[in-house]
Amino acid sequence: MYRILPIAILIVSELAVVTAFGEEVLRVDFNRDIRPILSDKCFQCHGPDEENLKAGLQLSVRESAVEAGAIRPGDAASSELLSRVLSDDPEEVMPPPKIKKPVSEKEAKLLRQWIEGGAEYKGHWAFQPVVKPSTPTVTRDALIKNDIDRFILSRLEEEGIEISDEADPRTLARRLSLDLVGLLPAPERVQDFVSQFERDPDSAVEQFADELLDSPHYGERWGRHWLDQARYADSNGYTIDGERVMWPYRDWVIKAINEDMPFDQFTIEQIAGDLLPDPEKAQLVATGFHRNTLINQEGGTDDEQFRNEEVVDRVNTTGAVWLGLTLGCAQCHTHKFDPITQKEYFELFAFFNQGKDVNNTGATIEVSEGEMFLSEPDPDKMTALENAKKEVARLESSKTKRQLAWEKSLIDSSRENGPGAEWERIAPERFYAEGGAPLALLNDSSILAGKGAPKETYRITLPAFTESVAAIRLRLIPHASLPSNGPGLASNGNIVLNRIEFFQSGEPLLVASAEHDHAQPGFSGAFTIDGKADTGWAINVGKGSSPGVKMNSEHEVNYVFARRISPGKPVEVVLRHEQNSNYNIGRFAFDVSGSPPRSIVEEKVFEVVGQPASKRTTEDRKFLSSEFAKKDVELREAKLGLKKSLRELGLGEPVKTMVMEDLPEGRETFVHLRGDFLQEDHETGTLSPGVPAVLPSMREVPGGKRQRDRLDLARWLVRPDHPLTPRVTVNRVWMRYFGKGLVETENDFGTQGSFPTHPELLDWLASEFVESGWSMKKLHKQIVTSATYRQASRNRSELNGIDPLNHLLARQSRIRVEAGIVRDAALSASGLFSPEIGGPGVMPPQPDGVYAFTQRKVRWVAANGPDRFRRAMYIKFFRSAPYPLLTTFDSPDFQSVCTSRVRSNTPLQALTLANDEAMYELAQGLGARLMMEVKGKDSVSNRDRIRRGYELCFSRTPTETELEAVANFQERQREGFLGDSKSAEAVSPQVRPDGFDPATAASWTAVARALMNTDEFITRE
């Protein structure tokens, strides 16, 4: 990025300092002053890339430069480098004018000084070993909170700049909370912090930091930063962009970070967990890191091409995340600026070229929801789970055999359809509705329901049967008291029943078939047993209904059970209405039969089975296997058993997530000429996995017998003496707290990157990090307890001319929070926040029309329960059409690694914050919360309510000006709503707190919406 100017500033100041101290000549540092000039202006033609060298001159190597006469150490006047740079002759001057990178006067001066001083070269700073510097002394020790401050303050003292005052405690509490957990602090916690801070600021900060680092939300906040680098998403990418299951990996990240897994182990498990001896399941899930690459499912794709794309992405991501290097350039040619050859690139490529996946799902592993968070599961329960899994697997594998046996038994029985059902009405013993609807038993043993919750659940207990039962019939019966004389409570008499469940002694009874007499098109009776909340049975008449059929008459669904229901124990029936509000059943009854009813489906089964297998069509075969699946009691019960074992461990349904796995016989790797995978360079020959020569070499493989693998690479990345990994890692952590890293080009530690603003501090932090056992929590604590971090962020106009971009850190920075935290802050202020951690992605409301522009449309059904209010990091992320709020606030689309997000400030952000349904309902939530927490109606209470709003949103009290502005606004809005009751009803929170009229309630929504739309709300100050 922009480097020239800050360096210029530093040089200017350096000059001043030097002159002030009266030293003889300028101190020119090769790495800080000279290398950037050579790298930026010369290396394109005279750098490490030997193949494209112009005039055979290599300025990146001292001997070469001296030999060629470009540099005569100690004699600038006769060094061609200088004369060419200073030449006025367009034919002579370097760099050539067409490159458009002229060397400035200042730069020429530096070059001259450097040559005069002996033209000493130093290796690029970032490739040199980290040497822990001693901490500098400062004149004003009293300002020091910890050693970090010595580095910052000594530099500021050198420049004669004062450090800023400490931020006020309220700002600090909000800053700590947003930085460490990404949620707003509760006002009460802020108050405690302030009281404690007044007594002892250091212990207040330390204690709050500890508390936040212990919070499970810490793993979410810092896990999200990591997931950016892992390019985690819930879809495959490219144009088809099918959904994928990678959330177990996301959960693993959260857990590992919460447990403060040492960063070296964290690295090894993600890069090569599968290659560890006897890896645990979690270590396999961890390798999902490199399974977050895209898969192109478009027809006609060359899988090998996209497999290569994935491998390239794995190399580049590894380079960016751990090494802070832009390896990608070396894919097509030897790196022009960094000493990394194309051959070396493909030696790294060789590590990742062995995967089983070929633009497809590849290797997967089964994981249950919650499993990544299990700490020490009960061994008995685990055994039971394993057994249940084996049983399911056994039955799954013998399914075909059992189906054949079933078919044979049907043929042998030579039974036609059975004698049919003999229904007998049965009067329920007990019944109630969960949402409070009144249920009454009528003379004919049917139940009449009144109005209750919009989406009711009825629980009915049938008395114990005297004989075993084969089928139960749900019968809908119209009633004159019901709307339109129908059987349902909808205004036209209709119903939508989504699920029916039967239990005996708490155990579910398996239904083999559900057949209706009539159903609205698209609302079959069979949908009541598919387990889904958004499909169900309805009875309106539509296109395709039989002639003469009426909605508002008696209708039924027959449920035939997979096993006969034993007599002697009552049966509980649960009827769930979950889809349409106020479509509950109005009147219904149950009949039972000892023999199964005649069934159209059953007829068809006999008919198909009667056909020789060779004559059956594909559809016949599908039909038979689906019918068998319903009657396959063994397997269905085994699955129920598995579910139960999982439930006992607190686990959900197992899913398959992608993991890394290598081929037994590896692929050969060649250099790809110009980066084209079709052009393998056979002249150079097969490459073995290896790392660039400029970096520390890898240890020998014991015995030298096998090729190096990803595990060797992972261990190499986290060698304690690695010059890059610790520096790159601490620099990124620093960046999150100060808006930019000590090395501003956090993703480029190569020669084109910027020089650290505080090189000693960087190395000191890196050494401390490794010495601490790679503990992230210790690093965080060190930073957030420093005086440097605790400074006020107020702009200081006197510094604008000296240090406009705040490189010297004489103040903190105001930082607009990341996309997800915008939502999370609103969730915490609204009081609606649902703090559950991990699990499958969720779908909060999103605006219509997101898919107007995509090839594939995602079925986005907004969650109604707690999932509606989960943190943003759990929102399902589709790469081709991400959740709009996120991208509007600069979330990357995770097509490739993102080590640092950009931060923009746009009108679309304003529209989103102000109008987006999901954000607006949080504003309504905050409005309701203000009315519930401050109950009075007079103007004093109104002001208290505004104060409360400020505490919830900004962790502070409003100024008088702010208080007046908001109070006047609220009063104006209320008056306006008084004369506009329709708007007032719409704007008022859905559940209006007692005693507030709609206009007043609406005005508090308006206030909450305004507070949440201020710059301060979405900014960490």
Partner: protein, 478 residues
């Protein structure tokens, strides 16, 4: 990185590289111009900026025919292809070539379409494009286009971003990043969509990539609310919304005075622009002020949602100063299967776009807007001279990257010329080849942007729209 430093960087970029050497301007002056001292210039990242040099054009409208129109059914009359219909193509052409679906043994397919030549330029046009005859002498026919990838997603990305993989800035993003936009009330880069579904590649096609999201294309829907979240929630009338924006503004100004952070000033501006957009965007969509003659010219309807309406909206957008408008019309993927035949399915889609594409050029011309506006028409690739067999019938063609046709009008491009020649099968470009990178370089050039100088540093590399390629195609410029 925060926006301020991006703006600074952007501005500095032009100072450094746009011809004014850094050395010639005093440091303090640059800082003052960058708005460090509270100046107003950095508050709007979309503010119009000077280009590298004077450009002939100001705006771009790109009519993207998603799926890959067949140059052989529309623009290239190849008698030889008919003559050798049903025979294998010469091996010299197909050797080493890969296709998305075609295997070995695919045979040449002569076009059944009737062609004639039109205009002084004698441009061959098939019967499928009767309206295009009217602009034969108004546009520059690029018959030697060449791209690199044969799958839709990557090829569309390539045409839009210069790279095959997602995550790079699109042309519209580069342009608005480079020279901002003249519109105060509408986004600088607008995307419109028609056809049965969205284009493959999704929002990566108008993504800002690693540039700030300010420069991302904003999809406008052809009817209803044009922009997501444009409407205030129910019950917030215009007056209430104004009161809301005023309160938010005054609270923000209060905070600005405490913190001195210029980002807050930018945010205040963003809320004002958002408020204006709530009026200007519906006003844009409202065609009641357009004469019936204009509607008829395009084949557009008030309240409609079609490619024709989008073409008319494109004109309205550039009239309002919007810098870059991109139209997508899908369903050009004529492989031969159901819904994809070169027969009625191609007829259907050409009918949907023929009149309105032509009308846009004529309408811009009659309003004097064509000189300032570059109008581009084309898809991500062409189609193979060999036929493709689907459902046992040869009814279509596969994706073809080695030759295809686009056209470009206005904005200082020569009109009434053809550029590019293909061989007798329409397989390879034999002369006047224009690679996608060259097209990009030329478009930027006409906007006054040097494609080698418009760069953004990301992951340690200076990226550009044209990667490390691209030459301005001088012969097609006035």
């Amino acid at each position: 990185m925060d926006l301020t430093s991006i703006q600074q960087q952007t501005r500095r970029h032009f100072f450094e590289k746009g011809g004014v050497g850094l050395g010639s301007i005093a440091l303090s002056q640059i800082l003052a111009q960058d708005g460090y001292a509270g100046g107003g210039s950095s508050e709007n990242p979309m503010a119009q900026r000077g280009a590298h040099y004077g450009g002939k054009a100001k705006n771009v409208i790109f009519m993207f025919m998603a799926g890959g129109p067949s140059h052989l059914e529309l623009f290239e009359d190849k008698p030889k292809l008919r003559e050798f219909h049903g025979q294998l193509p010469p091996e010299s052409l197909t050797k080493g070539k890969r296709f998305a679906f075609l295997g070995e043994g695919a045979k040449l397919l002569g076009s059944e379409r009737k062609f004639d030549t039109y205009g002084n330029v004698r441009m061959p046009l098939s019967e499928l494009l009767p309206h295009h005859r009217k602009i034969a002498d108004e546009v520059c026919w690029l018959r030697g286009m060449k791209t690199e990838v044969f799958n839709h997603g990557p090829a569309k990305l390539f045409m839009n971003t210069g790279f095959q993989v997602p995550g790079r800035p699109s042309m519209g993003s580069w342009v608005t990043y480079g020279i901002g936009s003249a519109s105060r009330d509408l986004p600088g880069f607008v995307v419109l969509q028609s056809g049965p579904r969205g284009p493959r590649g999704g929002n990566a096609l108008w993504s800002a990539g690693f540039l700030p999201s300010t420069y991302q294309g904003v999809p406008f829907r052809g009817s209803g609310d044009p922009i997501l979240n444009l409407n205030s929630p129910e019950g917030f009338t215009k007056n209430r919304q104004r009161d809301f924006v005023d309160l938010v503004g005054s609270l923000n100004r209060e905070r600005l005075s405490v913190t001195g952070d210029p980002e807050i000033a930018t945010r205040i501006n963003a809320y004002e622009m958002a408020y204006r957009m709530q009026t200007s965007a519906p006003e844009l969509m409202d065609l009641s002020g357009e004469s019936q003659a204009t509607l008829d010219l395009y084949g557009a309807e008030r309240g409609g949602n079609s490619y024709a309406n989008n073409c008319l909206l494109a004109r309205r957008l550039v009239e309002r100063g919007v810098r870059f408008v991109q139209l997508y019309h899908t369903d050009w993927d004529h492989h031969g299967g159901p819904g994809q035949t070169l027969g009625k399915d191609l007829e259907k889609v050409t009918k949907e776009v023929d009149q309105a594409s032509t009308a846009l050029v004529l309408d811009l011309k009659q309003r004097g807007l064509l000189d300032d506006t570059i109008v581009i028409w084309g898809g991500e690739f062409g189609r193979t001279p060999m036929g493709e067999t689907r459902n046992n019938k040869v009814g279509g063609r596969d994706h073809h990257i080695d030759a295809f046709t686009m056209w470009i009008a206005g904005g200082g491009f020569r009109s009434g010329i053809t550029y590019g020649k293909t061989d007798e099968f329409g397989y390879e470009v034999v002369d006047e080849k224009v690679h996608v990178h060259d097209l990009h370089a030329t478009i930027l050039h006409q906007l006054g942007i040097d494609h080698e100088q418009l760069t953004y540093r990301f992951q340690g590399r200076d990226f550009r729209l044209t990667d490390v390629f691209g030459n301005v195609v001088e012969p097609i410029l006035v």
